[in-house]
């Protein structure tokens, strides 16, 4: 074991190595490590935040869905009610119309009937007048006029509408 000047040389070498590592190796590597650590931490935080947001969105979706369902049920109910109303109204309108048509038909029928009656009366009168003329033209005896009267009667019965 012989110590010599190599010792001094080695001390200088060692000091240079320490200085180099301290100046050129350590700071960039540590900076990169810290930056990566921060990046990973940020990433994890962002993922957690996203997860929370997702959970909140899910809840919100549930609420909206529930609301939409209720609204749909309400709309269907309303529609049913409205449809019932429309049908009821239509029925009422139809009934009124029917009644009105019936009334007008009845009135017309009455008129026709009356007209026919009038005409019939006129005819009867004319016929009576005609018969009377004929009877007066021949003689005034009951037996002798019997056949004419009977003929008149049959005439009346056979054609009451003309």
């Amino acid at each position: 074991m012989n110590l010599n000047a190599t010792l001094l040389g080695q001390m200088i070498t060692f000091a240079i190595l320490i200085g180099f590592t301290m100046r050129f190796v350590w700071p960039p590597v540590i900076a990169a490590l810290n930056a990566r650590q921060k990046k990973i931490a940020d990433g994890i935080a962002a993922a957690e935040e996203a997860e929370q947001e997702l959970a909140m969105a899910k809840q919100e979706k549930e609420v909206i869905l529930q609301g939409a369902k209720q609204e749909a049920i309400a709309i269907v109910e309303q529609a049913n009610k409205k449809a019932g109303q429309v049908i009821e109204e239509a029925k009422m309108v139809a009934r009124h119309e029917g009644e009105r048509i019936l009334l007008s038909v009845k009135a017309e029928a009455g008129q026709v009937y009356k007209r026919a009656q009038d005409e019939l009366k006129n005819r009867v009168v004319a016929l009576v007048l005609f018969g009377t003329e004929k009877i007066l033209g021949r003689s005034v005896s009951a037996e002798g006029h019997q056949d004419i009267l009977e003929g008149l009667l049959t005439d009346l019965r056979s054609s009451p509408k003309k």
Binding site: M1, N2, L3, N4, A5, T6, L7, L8, G9, Q10, M11, T13, F14, A15, I16, L17, I18, F20, T21, M22, F24, V25, W26, P27, P28, V29, I30, A31, A32, L33, A35, R36, K38, K39
Partner: protein, 256 residues
């Protein structure tokens, strides 16, 4: 095997434990130690600088990943022991660990490989593992020692440092005892640091050399077994040197 060339095994072992020295008296430079330690230091710097300059916060590549693992390893060790600003101590710990590990790793190269290459190139002695040279281990531990004292000064101030040195652990009345005790305590730190690393690696190297003197049939199983075990030792020694550096510096930082 160099034993076949007229050298007996004692000479072979001695030959392998000799540094490639240049100079006279104290001013001797162990060129092999200097060369390998500086080369490995440059390798470490280039590798880590390459990863550091391309470091991104995004998905890291394989090199960046490896460097990040090393950096985080050093940072965690420092964070667990040292409570304060880690701007200086953590890079120091990383440098200590990586450099010592790389130098220790040279021990796993075949003992005759690089010396043979060197002898072809005309160099007669070559010790490949810089950590088996006490000059290197003492250089590191003395640098750490200087840092300990500097850190102590910085944390406590001059008066605090003197007070810490004279009045601890027995109080101001037993000042001489305190001083003697503290000097021994402080000096034991670099000596133990240096000798532990040197001793472990020197012994490991010696066993590799001894295995290399055995007949070839028993060389490879013994060599393999020792190399596998040595993997643990070189990592552990690098780790221990780093941990103790951190511990000593944190002690200096906190005071007693």
């Amino acid at each position: 095997m160099a034993t076949g060339e007229g050298l007996d095994s004692t000479a072979y072992i001695k030959h392998h434990l000799q540094n490639l020295a240049v100079g006279e008296g104290f001013w001797v430079f162990n060129c092999d130690t200097l060369f390998f330690s500086i080369a490995l230091g440059i390798f470490f710097c280039i590798l880590f600088r390459l990863a550091a300059s391309r470091a991104t916060a995004g998905v890291p590549g394989k090199l960046q990943n490896f460097v990040e693992v090393m950096v985080e390893f050093a940072d965690t060790q420092v964070k667990d022991t040292f409570h304060g600003k880690r701007d200086f101590i953590a890079p120091l710990a990383l440098t200590v660990f990586c450099w010592i590990f790389l130098m220790n790793f040279m021990d796993l190269l075949p003992v005759d490989l690089l010396p043979r290459v060197a002898s072809i190139m005309g160099l007669h002695h070559l010790k490949v593992v810089p950590t088996t040279d006490p000059n290197l281990t003492f250089a590191m531990s003395l640098t750490v020692f200087i840092l300990i004292i500097a850190c102590s000064f910085k944390a406590k101030g001059v008066s605090g440092f003197i007070k810490d040195f004279t009045c601890v652990p027995f109080g101001p009345k037993l000042l001489p005892f305190n001083v003697v005790l503290r000097i021994v305590e402080e000096c034991a730190k670099p000596v133990s640091l240096a000798l532990r690393l040197f001793g472990n690696l020197y012994a490991g190297e010696l066993i590799f050399i001894l295995i290399a003197t055995l007949p070839w049939a028993v060389q490879w199983p013994l060599g393999a077994a020792w190399a596998i075990f040595h993997l643990l030792i070189i990592t552990l020694q690098a780790f221990i040197f780093m941990m103790l550096t951190i511990v000593y510096l944190s002690l200096a930082h906190q005071g007693h």
